[in-house]
Subunit: 135 residues, 2 copies
């Protein structure tokens, strides 16, 4: 259970870095190598420079909504593990997020983040996104 | 380079199973444990029963469009590796897909799939999805 606790704490730290727009903390959360990131609606970013720049851009956006994690669930396998959670963005959008961590010298560091839109509230004027929309 | 070749071949096999709507082949592609799947617009699925059922449902949909992988790029780290690629669905949608594999007794088997919508063509009447839409 300690592993579960530790990886969930790393997941919480990720969202705290996001909430406080703390680029330095975000930099420490991400691993030094073998990293990928897929923000919602973006193509995949590969490597620390592109990923950390993307967070600086997001943190510099004055209209960026708060991102709140919910229902976090951890799966650990050896020195890797992922956390699956729901991100609520500004109480208007729900995303399915996968946050993948690797234990590097005892510390869980992020090696992959991907968030996919799963629903919007009825107050949003665009249609609700669903698998059927892909047909 | 052999590892890269092998994991890319596993990725190709995944899309071949999808294209041929082959539930048995899909079952062999997925690992026996520690598996998660996020189809576009769906919440995360955890465990083989839910994941394999989702593919049976997709394969049973007469309107399911063809999914074509492009620009596959592999990153291998020990006995795990991911393939990042673009999925083109019916030439109308582009998705960023992450396909994560684990080497189990010498065979790369899928432990995670997540596909996120990144663009739609102008012929689609709903607005183009982008990060700005989340603000």
């Amino acid at each position: 259970m300690s592993e579960q606790h530790d990886i969930l704490a790393a997941n919480t730290a990720y969202y705290e870095a996001f909430a406080s727009a703390d680029a330095e903390k975000m930099s420490r959360i991400w691993a030094d190598q073998d990293v990928t990131c897929v923000h919602p609606g973006w193509p995949a970013l590969v490597g620390r420079p592109a990923i950390l720049q993307s967070y600086r851009n997001i943190f510099g956006n004055p209209n960026q909504e708060r991102v709140e994690p919910h229902n976090a669930m951890a799966m650990v396998f050896g020195d890797e593990g992922r956390v699956i959670c729901i991100e609520l963005i500004g109480n208007a959008y729900a995303l399915a997020a996968t946050n993948w961590f690797r234990r590097v010298t005892g510390v869980w560091r992020m090696i992959h983040h991907q968030a996919s839109l799963i629903s919007m509230t009825a107050s949003v004027t665009v249609p609700k996104l669903s698998a059927q929309r892909l047909n």
